[in-house]
């Protein structure tokens, strides 16, 4: 049965990695639901957050195929309850009394007000963003854009640190052996 997974990928900050990563998805026949790329908290290391909805076994294999890419450091896969998830959406909506009431009730930020339209920003879960969209739709949405979901794991430290410690120790051992 298809389930939702959040795949976080840590890679060296090099040109073309995103393309290498997405190639794995097309090759292994897994659709990307959303994608976000950003620097991580560790200098020189990039982080990709990719949402998929697929069979758990297929996702487990996909994760290993991504990790196989030489410039990818480590890939983690989470279920939605292991992470804090957020995404951001912008709505350009026709101005009206109803819309302005709705804005007040739904904790939506107003970014810009024009004579004809109003630009709204909503940050939250995918469901909240969809819900607001449904509510605004009857009033006329001129434009809509939504970011990929981003996720932070609930454990305190970045799990990548442990991987980096492991490879660093391996490197030190190798250098020691060579110097002998």
């Amino acid at each position: 049965m298809d389930r939702e997974f959040i795949i976080t990928i840590f890679s060296e900050n090099k040109v073309g990695i995103l393309s290498q990563v997405t190639t794995v998805f097309t090759h292994r026949n897994v659709n990307i639901e959303s994608i976000a790329a950003s620097p991580s908290a560790i200098e020189g290391i990039h982080k990709y957050t990719i949402m998929v909805k697929n069979d758990p076994e297929r996702v487990a294999n996909l994760v290993k195929q991504i990790e196989k890419k030489v410039d990818v450091l480590k890939v983690f896969c989470y279920t939605p309850n292991e992470v804090v998830l957020q995404q951001l959406a912008l709505y350009k909506v026709k101005r009206s009394r109803n819309v302005e009431d709705m804005v007040r009730r739904h904790n939506v930020r107003i970014l810009e007000i024009h004579d004809e339209y109003i630009v709204l920003e909503k940050t939250g879960h995918k469901e909240e963003i969809d819900e607001l969209y449904q509510m605004l739709a009857p009033h006329g949405i001129y434009q809509f854009v939504c970011s990929g979901q981003v996720a932070i794991i609930k454990s305190r430290r970045e799990l990548l640190d442990e991987y980096l410690k492991y490879v660093n120790a391996k490197y030190q051992r190798m250098m020691l052996q060579e110097n002998k």
């Binding site: 073309g16 393309s19 076994e57 990790e67 030489v70 490197y171 190798m174």
Partner: protein, 578 residues
Amino acid sequence: MAFSGFSDTSTPQPKKDLPRISGSEAVIRSFLEEGVETIFGYPGGAIIPVYDALYSYRDKVNHILVRHEQCAIHAAQGYARATGKTGVCIVTSGPGATNTVTGLADAMLDSTPVVLISGQVASNTLGTDAFQEINFIEITNSVTKWNCQVKRAEDIPEAIARAFYIASSGRPGPVVVDITKDAQNGLLDFEYKPKKFIRSYQPYADIDNDQISEAVRLINLARKPMALIGQGVILAGAERELQDFLEKSGIPAASTLLGLSALPSDHPLYVGMLGMHGNYAPNIKNRDCDLLIAIGMRFDDRVTGDPSKFGINAKIIHMEIDPAEINKIIYADVPVLGDVKQSLPMITERISKNDHTEWINEFRVCNNIEREDIIEPAIERRGAHLRMGEVVDAVSKEFDDAILVTDVGQQQMFASKYFRFKRTRSIITSGGLGTMGFGLPAAIGAKIGAPEREVCLFVGDGGLQMTSQELGTIFQSNVGVKIILMNNGFLGMVRQWQELFYNKRYSFTELVNPDFELLAKANRIAYRCVERHEDLDDAVREMHSTPGAFLLECRVQREENVFPMVPAGAPVHDIRLE
């Protein structure tokens, strides 16, 4: 950080004591640092500077001029698989580069270490659709283990060091280094440091003792175990370790197509080849096994048939270097991740000495059925026409201990099953990608890599014509390959499927062929044609005693089928003898 990668932004620090040379010369000198002796390539506009540098190193590096870039890769693959070294190619940008894609894909699927240097337009014209510009990095993302584009001369040594390390370590594969023309022409202070560590790339897993213990436990308990030998054994150089393991455990062993020759064909524990057109015994006994020990193999669908029925009564131990292969097709009860050269002795040391005589006899019974029903009739010198099986048998008898190279199709299956292997690295064939046209250039590479050995290529009339331009390479570079052309006037394997599964509708599988004698003569290659059983041995002897290359055209029966056969998608124990 001590192990940070080469960056695109750092400013180079000039060092006075280092030789200042061009990027092109740095390419060649990096090759020399890596011990490269032979390069397969084809020049063109965007790679001229590297060829110019090569001109000064002609006495140190042997360059083989192929006739098509696809064949540069296939030849490098043949070279790599015959020698165990990394194959090296140079091609130009644009069409030169795109022509290599089939070869790269082949090397990717068959885990062959190849380093390809491709020329690229100057960096200031990148992205302008310049003459012979193509985004080669994007194109090769899914057919390489790693690729990179180099736009500055000073990054060349580091890129090439990475390329060789990545291509040859862990599960080997092809890598591409795409070098812009200005980087080739630029100057740098040359210093070469072979790569041994990349923090984002850990090719050898630490072997898990618990997994070893569990494997040992299952092996000691098993009553009907079978080992499945893959190319991983050869790539790891673990042939000795394999034999030690088998001989102590007494476990019968079958081989995948690419694992052939890791164990000699006459080894008492060898029970035949796996797969759709493999031998009868290892397929039919698959259902009876209670333990399958897969050693450096990846459960290709041509090996497993219906994977849900594969080893249906067996526990699976999967010894494999690539974590992504574990549980990809067949669930492993005990995965043993790591290099089999390390993990096999750890298991051998701890298992009890055993023999499975009765169980092995079950294989022998099946082997005998296949010998009587299939093999003996196939190699018997009777019937109106010459047949592929008897040709392979005759060549294998005459050429003791040759390297077998095959193309793809019926001759591939006949050759791999009827050829007898004495030592490792004796089969070179396109397994994963099934590339017709692979054979001739791969045979060239194999012969150049192992000049002391005979190289026998079996190729069909279809496959030969896919890359027959390389007969010119054979003449120019004086490559002594023995080409056995199985000419049946058909694309035989497809025709077989059309006969068996498509109601004999032979849709575009019949070939009207050129005169192969003239083709051989045009390329000044010795030639003989054989059509009758009684001329076969003499013809094969003539081929053997003739120095240099030889094309032996065997006019074989037009409609012959390869059996046994597992129908596509069926469980392997449904193997058909006819």
